[in-house]
Amino acid sequence: MYEFNYHKASSVSDAEQALRNASDGKIVAGGQTLLPTLKQRLASPSDLIDLGGCSELCGISVDGDTVTIGAMTTHAMVANSAEVQSAIPALAGLASNIGDAQVRNLGTIGGSIANNDPAADYPAACLGLGAVIVTDKREIVADDFFTGLFETALDEHEIITAIRFPKPEKACYQKFPNPASRYALVGVMVAKMSSGVRVAVTGAGADGVFRVDAFESALDGSFSASSLDIEMVHLPDLLEDIHGSPGYRENLIRVMGKRAVEACG
């Protein structure tokens, strides 16, 4: 790990100020991706600004049909929250399968989304459920937030404060985890919202998380697994790596999508 200066921010505005003052500052939330990245010397920020002391960023609240989760809320808190389990069980279930118990005790929803790893689970939850990402400056809908591989719509000094999830009529996330890393080789979130069905896929896209229009219209017509026996037209480029070919991943999108629809009931 290269050297850096460390700041423990006491509030979001304190963190934003520290970020502005740093020549190349980086926010650390739970650190479960950032620290391994620093250890491999793949990043060398001048300053690390820790949100661990910003208690206002931590917590879960339910207001009518909206679940709001603070950016520093850990995966374990989301997974074990009775409120999330009752309002959006698919989201609690997704959180309970990220990494392992120790990673879930430190890793945060805000950190995961800001990092936008192409195989992370939370981007599929945000895009699939049509979440709104709240920052210290504005609100960004998930459709506009995830812009590419490890890229988001966040400005240089912008900090995520919370994520607002609308409650679906029903939803399910099915993931085919890489057995070693537990990252999604393919993960599919199917959500039946009042406005229609949304299907978001993580792990497969060469540019990160994406929606499958063909599946959405098919499920809007008939919400059943057999509706997905159609051609997935207009798919983006799919990832090709040692874990799987694009064809393998495309097949998994259908298989995981069907399982998700079936599990929705």
Partner: protein, 157 residues
Amino acid sequence: MTNVSMTVNGRPVSADVEPRTLLVEYLRENIGLTGTHVGCDTSQCGACVIHVDGKSVKSCTMLAVQAAGCEVTTIEGLANGDDLHPMQAAFRENHGLQCGFCTPGMVMSAVDLVTKNPDLTDTEIRDGLEGNICRCTGYHNIVKSVRAGSNAMKAAE
């Protein structure tokens, strides 16, 4: 250098370290508690699991500065004098280790796991120990140990 203070196994400790110092390095090299092991150093193997404010974490994937002011428990803090913690005793009685390198992390993860849920099935124990890797035992006796340790902890309450 930054002065980092925390409470480790009930004892206040303090050391001047660089901000990039990992919590596990702080514990082993500055505080001298070498019971917490570094296996993979990539947050895969779980040999470095400790408790920070009552939650199990991988101390190779946390900075010492992030734990400043926290209550930390390491494997050295579990036993009561010469009396092993029930989970430690269960690992010994059930042959839950061979070389023992992964054991400090296994025990710390297991204590957190069964404290949160004392009535786990064997499958749930295996899932709960997903973040801990053992290259000797094949896990069978580890699961047996955790089950026995869980029962002993309940009996001790």
